[in-house]
Symmetry: C2
Amino acid sequence: MTITITAFERSPDGGKGLARDTRVRWALEEVGQPYEVRLVSFRAMKEPAHLALHPFGQIPTYEEGDLGLFETGAIVFHIAERHAGLLPEDANARARAITWMFAALNTVEPPILELGNARILESDKPWSNERLPLVEDRVRNRLKQLSARLGDAEWLDGAFSAGDLMMVSVLLRLKSSGILNEFPNLAAYVARGEARPAYKRAFDAQAAINTGKPPTG
Amino acid sequence: MTITITAFERSPDGGKGLARDTRVRWALEEVGQPYEVRLVSFRAMKEPAHLALHPFGQIPTYEEGDLGLFETGAIVFHIAERHAGLLPEDANARARAITWMFAALNTVEPPILELGNARILESDKPWSNERLPLVEDRVRNRLKQLSARLGDAEWLDGAFSAGDLMMVSVLLRLKSSGILNEFPNLAAYVARGEARPAYKRAFDAQAAINTGKPPTG
């Protein structure tokens, strides 16, 4: 059955790979599953046809036969559960890899989303300059803990897993802020993720759409 | 094997059930699994012994034999995967229930966490009054979409699932803000969750610790 995902017709990041379809593309590339992409405009995302698939009017979505899913974490998990390569076979190791997926999305990403709101949605507000360091420190607190846990390890818990895919994807959002570089082991961890051939293919595929540059892979 | 979870020695909410151990207790009650609780002080949460179990120094954690997990979403999913009662058997319905778990944690909860930060951590800041409506509107945008999807249904997708458990738990955090009542179908949905005997047992168990009141169940 063909897998079809949705992506922005024109990504707000201009092809930097920060839109969430990149996470799903990366997962599909890691497990070697081909997929098709349906591009959606900002306007179409808020229309009934897309809302039936994604109640929050966002991308990506995932369609395969009569299954329709939304929410990046759930889509990546679905892919990881059905194809070898993203979750360990050992039951306890598998549960720990899934833990890192949730930790990326519910513990590490929320302060990063808040920082994004502060930098983008509230940049013109009178409190912007005074408030920003406060929000940045919330991100730093999490990264400090994550950095301490990662230490000198290559990945968060043994071999590369869907947990690392998600954590690297979340941390990538910090690149432009400079905060990531305050934690050299996390910056190196993210670079290891970006160096994976599957990530490169995913990145190139979304960049080709958003910049008009053909994939180099 | 005995299941042991951790909870606050003294919850910051004074026993209102908003600390995340309530979500794990609720899941364990839904599937009928007994569990033990180890209480952790704020100080002990930041010490090496607890950080080895929970790298972000929070509660709850989950221990069962040689498995140690942190992160509420992952723990609830682990429970739901191993015991009947929280995930449908049909593969597609199961994937959709998992989708709602992730949607609760990564799409609906982040703006609610941001509102919590605005109301608690930034209440004394000069921008507090002017900024609060802005943050509230971010929450409203999500609730509007969720309310439209839920409609008149009892639960988000067929029978009660771990997705509902997580969504109700996330929405419960809004109760004191008054925003939840702007969406009568969501308020009724949350009330249905709270009315479940398993939720009541979970709530009473955490309240007994935090208020000294013995469980009524």
